[in-house]
Each structure stands twice: as C-alpha cells, then as structure tokens.
Point group: C2
Chain length 318, copies 2
C-alpha cells in the first residue's frame, strides 16, 4: 500500500530532505491537502485547519509537544495522533538551568554595573544545596530533575500519581488515602510541595486539571526569595495573581516562556511587570533532525501496523 504524506511546517524542505535520506518504503509527498493524504507531519496550527479536507487521514505526527488544538471536542478524533517527547528534555533543562544561573550569578546586575564602570563583586549565589520543585514530571521534568541533581540540588516533584523519575527526592500527589484525587488534597499537596522552595518550575501540559494551578494560594506558599519558571503552558498560570505577586515582591522573580495568548498583545501588563523575564516560546525548540528521526521511526511502525510511539490520548490530553 502506498502512503501519502503532507508536511505542514516552514521547514518543509528540510523535512523532505531528512525523510528522503531514510529511503522509507511506499511513501510519497503531497504538495497540498488532497483526498489521498493519509499521513500528516506538521505544526498544530496549520494542521488543524486542514483536518476536515483530509478524508483518508490515518495518522498525524505533531512537530510540537503541545497538541491542544487537536483536543478540541468539536474536532475529529478518528485518526492516530502522536506528538514529540524525549527530545525537549535536554533543551528545556538548558533553559531552566540557564535562567537559574542568571538569577544566582546576578548576571543582569553585573552587566548593569559594568555599564556604570562599577566593580560589582558582591557575593554570588549557587545552585548547590537549593531546592527545586517541578510541577509535572514527565520526560521533560525527569530530565530537569536529573540536571538539578547534577548541580547538587534537592528535587521535589508534583504529579497526579506517577513516580517515574529516580532523580526526584520527594513526590507530592493530590490523592486521598484511597488513591482518588480530590480538590482538598490537591490544595494540601501543593501547599507542602511549595513550602520552602527556592525555585518552582511548571512543565505541566494544558488540561482541565492543570488550568490556573499556579494561583494566588500557591504563589503565597512560596518563600519571598523564590523564582518561578513556566515552560509548560500559559493556561497553568493565573496571570493576575502572578502580576500581583511580582508587584508586591511576594516572590523574587518569574521567567515565562509561555502565555495564555501567544504572541502576547502589546497591551499585556507582563511587558512591564518588575522582575519578570519573557522568552517568547523559545525554551524547547523543535530541531528538524530530532523530529524527522521520530517521524521515520514511527513510519516504520506504522507500515507494519504496530503501535506508534508518543501517541496522544484525546481524553487525557497528553
């Protein structure tokens, strides 16, 4: 059986070249949406707009980890959706460690001093001995945990129940004694998870359980010297509560890679909130080489009728 692949990405030519190198059997490229396209490799936004014009669609490989557009209950679900995992962990670990070091090492302060010709040799901080809390410990969180341990940190993890990373020193779950999740238990678990943290990092996907999980209550539970980093999804943050926490110095700072609305509107208060750094959804870039590798591996499984890697559960949302 022949398969027809539609690629929806500004890097289309790069993907074609990489896929051609793998000499996959029975695979042709489509230049545009067509009735015989059964496979899509693409970014969520352009892909969702063509879903309804691909009657033969059987498998869609997302180029990104985040696949919210496909989860809309009004959208079709009669195909296998796979995303990319495991490739972002290293990149996002670099990002997190980079901004923790910017904070500890006073990198901006020293540069300001340099501009004013001031010999700014005030004490530096260190990652060693600090405590980092990870909201979400999937493949990305596990790599951040491993990197944090490498630098001598203590690692806490908050998950629904899974405890897959051995680099997490202590887990917190929103579970009753019978193992069922509850709203009360969630508040209790988040309070003890947040208490005494030096750094809080959100890596949670956007689901009904994670919306605005970083709220005034959680921010209040953090020490005043804590730094918050969001590399998960903007929807996980109560933006007003975060702005208030920063304006009132309830926490030391925030580094945000993701936002409820992207790109952020020019009128958004985040642009001018004190001690807030923004990085415009660049923390976990998709490198075509990595994504092509996943696509090629999955295609080989697909033609054999085997289960694909990184399949997304439409109900669970990840």
């Amino acid at each position: 059986m022949r398969h027809k692949l539609l690629i929806l990405s500004p890097d289309r030519d790069k993907y074609r070249a990489l896929i051609n190198e793998a000499r996959l059997v029975d695979l042709e490229f489509a230049d545009q949406p067509a009735p015989d396209v059964d496979i899509v490799l693409g970014e969520p936004k352009p892909a969702i707009t063509v879903l309804d014009s691909l009657p033969a669609l059987s498998w869609l490989q997302s180029i990104w980890a985040g696949v919210e557009p496909f989860l809309d209950p009004a959208a079709r679900r009669d195909y296998v959706l796979t995303n990319v995992r495991d490739v972002f962990g290293g990149l996002i670990s670099e990002y997190v460690i980079g901004y923790l070091l910017v904070h500890e090492r006073k990198i901006f302060q020293r540069f300001e001093a340099q501009k004013n010709k001031i010999w700014e040799d005030s004490d530096t901080g260190t990652l060693r001995g600090k405590t980092i809390g990870l909201l979400g410990v999937g493949s990305i969180g596990a790599e951040i945990a491993e990197t944090a341990k490498f630098f001598g940190m203590t690692v806490r993890g908050y998950t629904m129940g899974s405890e897959t990373s051995k680099h997490v020193d202590r887990y917190f779950h929103p579970l009753e004694s019978d193992g069922s999740p509850s709203v009360q238990q969630r508040a209790v678990a988040l309070q003890s998870f947040a208490s005494g943290l030096d750094y809080l990092v959100n890596i949670l996907p956007n689901t009904v359980d994670t919306r605005r999980i970083i709220n005034a209550e959680l921010l209040d539970a953090l020490p005043a010297h804590a730094l918050f980093i969001n590399v998960g999804r903007g929807q996980a943050v109560d933006e007003s509560a975060l702005i208030e926490a920063l304006n009132q110095n309830k926490i030391a700072g925030a580094v945000l890679d993701v936002f409820e609305q992207e790109p952020l509107s020019k009128e958004h208060p985040f642009w001018t909130t004190p001690n807030l750094l923004m990085t415009f959804h660049t923390a976990g870039p998709s490198f075509a080489e990595d994504i092509a590798k996943i696509f090629i591996e999955n295609y080989r499984l697909f033609v054999k009728g085997k289960p694909l890697k990184y399949r997304v559960d439409f109900e669970r949302g990840y």
Copy 2:
C-alpha cells in the same frame, strides 16, 4: 604542643565559629600578628604583608586558590603553603555553563526585545554538540569537562602533559616527540587545540608558562562565532589582542572574571569593549564553610606531622 592561629579575612568571626565547632586540640586564636603565631589562615594580600612579623610561622593555609603574592622570589619560603582546591570546580562550572547559556539562549537579546515589547522568538542555540576547549585541566577544569559532557559537548583539553580527566575527549600538549616542552610545539598544539572551537575557557594559573598564552595568534585561530571565557588569571591574556579581536569581530564575545589589574581602573578600555561581559572576580567564591573544612582536615594532619593536602610548590607555582 600548643598552636596559635592567626585568621586574616573579613569573615574572621565566621571562621572562628566554624573552627570552634570542630573542637581541634591544642589550638588557640591570635588576635594579631605575634611571635608565637605558627599557623595562618587567610587571604593572600593581608597575609603577605605580615609574613615577616611571624618568626614562628610553620604553615599558611590560603583561603583562595590563587597564591601569586606568596610566589614572589623575594618573599620567604620557609613554611608550608597550602591553598584550596576541589571546592571551586562546581562553582566555576556553574559560572561557565551560565554564561554559555546566556550566549546560546540569547538571554540579553530577549530581554532587550522585551523592553521594546517585541515578541523575539528567533531560533535558540544549544550546548548539545558544541565543542569546548579547556586551557588547563586541573581539578576545576576536570569539573567543567564533566559538566560539559553532561550537556552533550565535545571537550578538548590543553595541558603541559597531564591527562587526568576522563571527561576530556582529546588532549593537546606543547611537547616534542622526546616529551620535552618547546615553544614551537606550543604554538602548533595551541593552533590545533583552538581550531574549530565553539567555546574557549581559560582556567590556567598564573605562571611563566601561561603569561599571555591567549594572544593574537590564538584568538585568530578561533572561529568567528567562538566565545572566550577567562576564569583563570588575567595575566594569561594579551589584553590588547583581545580588545582588537572583539572590536574587529574576530570572535563573538568574551566573558572575563579576572584581569591583570584588579579592580580594573576606570580608564581601562575593557569597560566599553563590544561583546565583552565582566564579572569582577566572582566566578569562584570562597565559601567559609568549604574553606574551614579544608583547614580543619589539614590541621588534623598538621598536628600528626603528616603531609598536608593542597600543598603549593613555590617553584612550580601551583
């Protein structure tokens, strides 16, 4: 036998408290230089000025790694000099990785964009796959090498001959085929060491062999996208050559923690050289807890007449 310790550091009270906790036998504190002081724990600068007023001096534990003042041939050498090692590796690794990430992740550029309300999502770089060259692979270099490998880098090391770190992928030495060092071989070794590097990090101590080792020739051998970091000693750099390389964009940038003269004079061109970041000798801070631990361990060896750890060879200079 009773011993009398003089502490020369702004953190004197902290050191006293830490040493008291260890309940060392036969140890008293001196408040000022005195004929019966036989041990000094101190920073090089204040310590060198009192050397001649301590006739009973038997052992001097430096609080810093760099001990140049004591190596002056005109200064006395009739005592055991020990410095601190192994404690800076982690801290300096943090510093190096921090500034590499500032560079790769465009941390300053994104902040400038934020000030102008620009959604700056240009591609980010990564440490993965990059090549770092370490000038000097002692205990600090070895820890930087290990950290670089953790982040997926290729590591080159330049040393006089030692190959002690297993995290270095390839070593370079200034040796003739008979194993003797030569000026010609040094130039050849440095050229091939520098060729194709993404990052060059100097960790060499200040000795006759390392003075101005980072000269125009070495800087010319680096690719134009390379970043230079100096956490060794300022004397290792030909400052004029570095300023010229930066002004002419022969390299992408430099991060300097150390300088020929410290603090740097207000007139020094470094303050305004493009793509130059300065950090005012803060890369490897001496934490009193770490230093006190070394002193206590060495004191226990000292009273038993055993060889001390981290002894400095006055001739070799480290």
